[in-house]
């Protein structure tokens, strides 16, 4: 925070503290101890900085004995009853890794000894300054405590519904939105500008509701519709479009910092997270009541009437950036929690509660205890990736009989596939033996010792660490040291006995966790895993889930290490961790690792071996994929999704974290609501028998969706207004506190918010109210008098023009060429990424895939969002940051955008497609081609002068620049995509 505090030096009273009276002690302090404190401590704990501002780090003042006794955020610095236990000594000793002072390095032992002696003496102080305290004056104290002023702040006080004011102009009196807006304008003596043209209106409305341009036919139909409800019919039509959900879901995704990877070192995929994106689209399209929408995202799994969708909704709490290998696991768990608290409080309540994590909020009446009471609603959430699992299966209705049938069919299918593949492999090997006997001889993998990174029990059993008790969550990571965690050691294989094998280390329980390590000097290109498992095994390499096998086998399997396995390899020490589960019968596990082996599948799959025909090869590949699917289908019915789970019905206690450090636990708090709204404790019903969660999140969402909640309805209504009118009634949609900007039309905001609740939290009802207003239909033109009086258009005397968003630009270009694929939903697609950008990734190709052209032409909301790698076309045009809630996007105008529009491959591809389209629709008629291009891009026909200029430009390209006609037309198309008229909505 900025320096809010002023200093006022307290009067320096020569008071003798009783403990400081021993003159010998005082002299010792003055000569031996005070100089040490002055040199090492005073500066940050009571001193002034070079600007004369006081520094009181950690709330601790060390200028006086009094300061020591009062102490700071971690408590008193001196323990008077047992001086040897004083915090001061602990911190100076560097024994506590979390709290070491002074920060530059431990004091020399002889200085420490002096201080210890002095503390033992009772910390006597020089009498002249024993009571000296820097007085901190906080001018914002008035807004950081609960008082009449804070309770009366517009967004802390209850919503107040007043009747719409009466206005004279009949055109402005029908819609309450207009009445509120016009009354303010009348008050200031300002006239609104007139209504926008119908073409401008429909273009505005189409983009606002669907993110797509209207066709010229749609505009013409609207222009010729003379019925009095012509406009409201358009509003209804577009609100009913499925593309409405796609457009408005994106607004929501900005707030919840939606991305499909975790960020950090590996930036791994968040599996199935697209189901959450589809859920949001569906919710908007269904006009799901907002209170339900909110509740599902926070507590959809705890709802009595939960559905698959309501559980998918909780994926919202899994969207944050997440470090799978943090240096400080405990702190990072709470960082993730904090990320969610910020999204929930800023996103739903426009409350910057995150500021109160380390200390009381410095601009709002939110004490630190409020933050942790809020955090405790989420305390039971299972950490991300516990045991490597990030997803859950959500059961969908299905009878047991149907399931049995399905399983039998899968078994039969697998058997058939395996038989075919075996024949194919044999044939391929036979061919290879004829064409390349040397290569063929290597296929079986003779197992020379140096080729084995880990030998299996058949040759030389590897020693593994193992445990039969469920280990700590980080058991599979590189940093976990099984030897220090009390694991036992034993030789492979583990289990009892299985066909052809006998265990060396007996394991006859349900589960076993195994860990071993191997060294690598260089990363091999391929690896062969020799695996014998009975039954399910999850295999982790360096903390990454790399392979999962289920059921049992009756012989060693040779499995080529999958790409995930190879990607997780690192030079130096590698940690292999395995979790094996058995359900019935015997058990057995063993694993070997062989470098650079050629497996029969390679012989089939690698074209350079020329061992099978191409159709056979492709068929083999398909069968392999099908086997994976079968495995998936067999595991359990239902759909897999990233959702919230809790550790059980009783969450761990929630401590206040002193200065936000998870290692400095303060008092325990329980779920409760902010003090500014009464601070009552949450009523969380006791979890039912067999419950897997605490029910706390449901209690929170019940409170947040109370019809009289002072924030929830206001916040959402303000967001809807913001997206229709270019800025919110309060321009800071995520912050309604004292640091935010108050609403320009508070009465209107409250009226809309109460209406929202009264209409059953229907978002479409609010859209209708706003869109059917005159205020929305105003032109974006200016007018000198109003512009002088209200240049920022605070009062909405005109409509705020806006630039298209990154997604709208791309989707519109694809729509103009006719290439756009409007298929909805499903896994995200990869849109082409320039080589230059792929090269910035640490992995070759950045783990960026390729989607077939028709898929790559899907709407932008379906494009893959990877935290470390984003398409430049999106970032250039101000896509939301993926790591922070984004309530209002930037709208920058910078030359990189112009470079992209003039020189990028994407724009030139689209220009080519547009030119080809208009040429094929109007062969030989250049004028018609130009007209059509205008129509497709800016939804109107060019006027005479524009037509002449366009034809002249194309002529110049042909004649002066010697371009072929089709190329000349493409250059014209490049220019059309750069029209300001295309970029900006009136």
């Amino acid at each position: 925070m900025k320096e809010l505090r002023l200093i006022a030096i307290a009067s320096l009273l020569p008071v003798l503290s009783p403990c400081a009276s021993g003159s010998e002690g005082v002299e010792f302090f003055r000569k031996e101890v005070k100089p040490i404190l002055e040199e090492n401590c005073f500066k940050c704990h009571g001193g002034l900085d070079d600007k004369g501002h006081p520094k009181v780090r950690g709330g601790l003042q060390l200028l006086s004995r009094k300061g020591l006794m009062i102490g700071g955020d971690h408590g008193p610095a001196i323990n008077e009853s047992d001086p040897s236990q004083s915090l001061l000594l602990e911190v100076l000793s560097y024994a506590n890794e979390e709290l070491q002072m002074p920060p530059r390095g431990k004091l020399p032992e002889e200085q420490l000894a002096k201080i210890a002696r002095w503390v033992e003496m009772g910390a006597p102080w020089t009498p002249e300054d024993a009571e000296l305290m820097v007085e901190i004056h906080d001018p914002l104290a008035g807004v950081t405590t609960v008082n009449e002023k804070t309770k009366g702040h517009w967004s802390y006080k209850p919503m107040e519904r007043v009747d719409p004011p009466a206005v004279k102009d009949p055109a402005w009196s029908g819609n309450p939105v207009d009445a509120f807006v016009r009354a303010k304008l009348d008050e200031k003596g300002l006239q609104p500008v007139g209504e926008a043209s119908r073409a401008a209106l429909l273009r505005r409305l189409s983009y606002d509701l669907t993110g797509l341009p209207p066709s010229l036919e749609e505009i013409k139909a609207f222009e010729s519709d003379t019925s009095p409800d012509a406009w409201s019919k358009q509003v209804d039509r577009l609100l009913a479009s499925p593309h409405y959900g796609e457009k408005w879901a994106r607004h929501w995704l900005d707030i919840v910092r939606y991305a499909e990877s975790n960020g950090f070192e590996r930036d791994n995929e968040k599996p199935f997270v697209w189901r959450y994106r589809d859920y949001v689209i569906r919710s908007f399209n269904e006009d799901k009541p907002y209170d339900r929408f909110l509740t599902e995202q926070i507590a959809g799994d705890e709802l009595p009437d939960r559905t698959a969708d309501s559980q998918i909704a909780t994926g919202m709490l899994r969207l944050m950036a997440w470090d799978d290998e943090p240096a400080d696991r405990l702190q990072h768990f709470h960082d993730v929690l904090d990320d969610n608290i910020r999204v929930v409080t800023e996103g739903f309540l426009a409350m910057t509660a995150g500021c109160a994590r380390c200390h009381d909020h410095k601009g709002d009446p939110i004490p630190q205890s409020d933050y942790f009471k809020f955090a405790s609603f989420f305390r039971g959430i299972e950490p991300m990736g516990r045991g490597g699992k990030q997803t859950q299966r959500i059961p969908t209705a299905e009878g047991p009989e149907g399931r049995a049938k399905e399983l039998a069919a899968l078994d039969a299918e697998e058997k058939e596939i395996r038989a075919w593949m075996a024949t194919c492999e044999q044939g391929a090997l036979g061919n290879l033996q004829r064409t390349n006997p040397e290569l063929a001889s290597r296929v079986s993998g003779k197992g020379e010792a140096d080729r084995w990174l880990l030998t299996d029990a058949r040759t030389r059993p590897t020693s593994w660490h193992y445990t039969l008790k469920e280990p700590a969550a980080e058991w599979s990571t590189v940093g976990f040291r099984a030897d220090q965690a009390g694991w036992q050691q034993g030789l492979a294989g583990f289990g009892t006995a299985a066909p052809g094998v006998q265990a060396k280390t007996v394991w006859n329980g349900r589960e076993i966790w195994l860990q071993t390590t191997f060294g690598l000097e260089a990363i091999p290109k391929s690896l062969l895993i020799h695996l014998y498992h009975d039954e399910d095994a999850e295999i982790y390499l360096n903390g990454q889930p790399v392979l999962q096998v289920s059921r049992y086998v009756t012989a060693y399997q040779k499995i080529p290490a999958p790409p995930a396995f190879l990607a997780a390899l690192q030079t130096g020490r590698n940690v292999l961790a395995v979790h094996v589960r058995q359900t019935s019968g015997g058990q057995f596990f063993d694993l070997g690792l062989e470098v650079d082996a050629i497996v029969p599948a390679d012989v089939v799959l690698k074209p350079e071996f020329r061992a099978v025909s191409r159709p056979d090869r492709e068929n083999y590949r398909r069968k392999l994929n099908r086997l994976k699917e079968i495995d998936e289908l067999r595991k359990s019915p239902g759909i897999e999704a990233m959702v919230i789970t809790e550790v059980g019905p009783v969450p761990p206690p929630t401590h206040i974290h002193i200065r936000g450090s998870a290692h400095a636990e303060g008092e325990v708090v329980t779920p409760g609501f902010p003090v500014i709204w009464g601070g009552e404790a949450a009523e969380v019903p006791a979890p039912a028998e067999g419950a897997t969660t605490s029910g706390r999140r449901l209690a929170l969402s019940r409170w947040m969706t109370r019809p009289d909640h002072p924030r929830t309805a206001r916040v959402m209504v303000n967001r809807i207004w913001h997206h229709h009118f270019g800025r919110g009634l309060s321009p800071t949609p995520n912050d309604f506190g004292f640091l935010g900007t108050p609403a320009t039309h508070p009465e209107l905001l409250d009226w809309l918010a109460t209406e929202f609740v009264a209409k059953g939290w229907s978002m479409k009802a609010i859209h209708r109210l706003m869109l059917n207003s005159m205020t929305y239909r105003l032109a974006s033109s200016s007018e000198p008098k109003a512009a002088a009086a209200d240049p920022a258009n605070e009062l909405f005397w005109r409509f705020n023009p806006r630039r298209l968003t990154a997604e709208e630009l791309r989707d519109s270009m694809l729509a103009s060429t006719g290439e756009i694929n409007l298929q909805m939903g499903g896994p995200s697609v990869f849109i082409p990424m320039p080589e230059e950008v792929l090269a910035t990734s640490s992995t070759k190709g950045g783990k960026w895939g390729t989607s077939p052209p028709d898929q790559a032409n899907r709407r932008s909301i379906y494009a893959k969002i990877k935290r470390s790698l984003q398409p430049p076309m999106f970032t250039d045009f101000d896509l939301a940051d993926t790591d922070n809630p984004c309530p209002v996007r930037f709208t920058t105008t910078v030359p990189t955008q112009a470079l992209a529009m003039m020189n990028s491959e994407f724009v030139h591809d689209k220009a080519k497609a547009l030119a080809e389209r208009v040429a094929s629709e109007h062969p030989g008629d250049l004028q018609a081609q130009v007209r059509k291009a205008f129509e497709l891009v800016v939804a109107r026909t060019p006027d005479e002068s524009e037509l002449i200029r366009s034809l002249a430009f194309i002529g110049k390209m042909k004649n002066q620049h010697q371009l072929a006609p089709e190329l000349a037309l493409q250059r014209f198309a490049v220019a059309v995509f750069s029209f300001n008229e295309f970029f900006y909505l009136d």
Binding site: P326, R342, G519, G572, E794, N884
Partner: protein
């Protein structure tokens, strides 16, 4: 990048003060002053139109530009600049020592003695290993920090920390802060340039040069030292500059027509202007990056000779050329991708460090000498170092590989008002942890900001209810002992 009246929307950064400024500046123009700092430290002298327009420094500036030579992966300090003579004899012996690296926390380890000999160089008598014979020749210009510490010994979070001051993703990087605080001196070139290793970017890719919650205008622009330096800077094949001029003229005509009646929307004129600016950049940037036409003696000085040093030499020369043209912050990566493609020597330490030091030693020394002979070193702050250092002990039972070490490592700075020929801070006798004058990453950042004329404790950006600072909310002091 460079901008005309730039943006009117803020990602949550709009607050009352900014809005008041906006009213004064008309609806579409941004009042940057408000977002710079809520205590108004910046209120004067800030253009309301252009986020990258040059701004007055907050305090007297010693340097105009920064070149950060980022040794990604973590170079071993005890094998390069942190001389530990006692370690040689201990090679292979197991000693009690607390370490925390990729492989977790350990209480003892097998010492890997330094694999290279050290000699003293220069007036300062600085001990430098055989890995850096050329850098050793300029030690009197360098100020070493031997007591660097970082909060994480894991690449992902440690990279973010060195670049953005935070272990968590989403914060603006050092170069973004500099451009935000100072603006660019050359509107034809980016103010923040990143040059990557030819093997690829570092882990987390673009997050390392992200502008976080600031506008994307402040993010790093990736420059390539061969071919087209910036994405989309070159015209598509078949489209020449004359055609482009005709296209811009036609576009200008149409846009002028559209502007009629919309003059109040200054974004429209700004967009028209941005095309002309981009067109000029296309003309000017190739000259700026033309390292091939440098005189032979300069190429020789850096080792731009087609051999192993060629690639890094080109980047160092390019960095100097950008400094001459006013780019504020240039980051050059040595090492990319994973494993031994960077300094991350878990396996064969000798092979790894010989490779990376051998590729960079001569170019780095050349850069220092060249900046000095042009009188540019005084106003250019050069930083060398990685996200952390390496352990004095072996990582596993056999071999010379060292694990990561964030408890103590070495970085050095040169130029830009830094006192050359000095060494600051110490690690313990093994080089395992900093014990004297410990320096945190935020102190390093504070030093950079101060030398560039920004007050580290008063350069802030309002987002999410908080005045964010690069050095953290509590602030941090620059390392005064290193200041000339």
């Amino acid at each position: 990048m460079i901008a005309r009246p730039p943006f009117r929307n803020f990602c949550g950064r709009v607050h009352r003060r900014e809005f008041l400024h906006q009213i004064g500046g008309g609806f579409t123009s941004l009042a940057l002053a408000g977002m710079l700092s809520r205590d108004g430290a910046f209120a004067a002298g800030v253009s309301a139109a252009n986020p990258l327009a040059p701004k007055q420094p907050q305090i007297p500036a010693k340097a105009k530009s920064v070149i950060f030579l980022f040794m990604y992966g973590g170079p071993s300090h005890v094998d390069t600049f942190d001389y530990k003579p006692k370690m040689y004899a201990l090679d292979g012996k197991t000693v009690p020592i607390k370490t925390f690296g990729r492989g977790g926390k350990k209480n003892e380890g097998r010492v890997v003695g330094p694999k290279w000999k050290f000699k003293q160089y220069g007036q300062s008598g600085k001990w430098v290993s055989e890995l850096f014979p050329n850098v050793a020749g300029v030690v009197d210009d360098l100020a070493f920090i031997h007591s660097m510490t970082a909060d994480s010994p894991i690449h992902g979070s440690a990279m973010l920390m060195m670049n953005s001051g935070s272990l968590l993703s989403g914060k603006p990087s050092l170069g973004s802060w500099l451009n935000y605080g100072l603006g660019s001196l050359n509107e034809n070139l980016p103010g923040y340039v990143v040059m990557l290793d030819k093997t690829g970017g570092p882990i987390s890719g673009a997050k390392n040069w992200s502008s976080g919650f600031m506008p994307a205008s402040y993010q790093g622009v990736v420059f390539r030292s061969k071919g087209s330096p910036i994405l989309n800077l070159e015209n598509r094949p078949g489209m020449d500059r004359l055609q482009q001029r005709s296209l811009l003229d036609f576009l200008g005509d149409i846009n002028e027509g559209h502007l009629k009646g919309r003059e109040h929307n200054s974004d429209l004129a700004a967009r028209i202007a941005s095309y002309e600016l981009a067109y000029r950049m296309q003309a000017n940037a190739p000259e700026a990056i033309d390292v091939d036409n440098e005189p032979q003696h300069i190429k020789d000085l850096y080792g731009m000779d087609g051999g192993r040093t060629d690639d890094f030499a080109r980047k160092c020369i390019l960095a100097r050329r950008l400094v001459e043209r006013g780019t504020r912050f240039i980051q050059v990566y040595s090492g990319g991708a994973h494993n031994d493609d960077n300094w991350d020597a878990h396996g064969d330490l000798v092979k790894n460090h010989e490779f990376h030091a051998g590729n960079t030693d001569k170019p780095i020394a050349g850069l220092i000498k060249d900046l000095k002979q042009r009188g540019l070193l005084d106003e250019t702050l050069v930083i060398w170092g990685g996200e952390f250092g390496r352990q004095p002990t072996a990582e596993y039972a056999e071999g010379t590989g060292r694990d990561h070490n964030s408890a103590g490592f070495t970085m050095w700075m040169a130029g830009g008002g830094i006192k050359g020929g000095t060494s600051f801070g110490e690690t313990d006798e093994y080089g395992g942890a900093a014990v004297k004058d410990r320096v945190q990453v935020k102190n390093l950042h504070a030093t950079v900001l101060q030398q560039m004329g920004l007050d580290p404790n008063h350069l802030s950006y309002f987002y999410g209810g908080l005045d964010h600072k690069l050095v953290g909310v509590e602030g941090a002091d620059p390392i005064q002992e290193l200041i000339a």
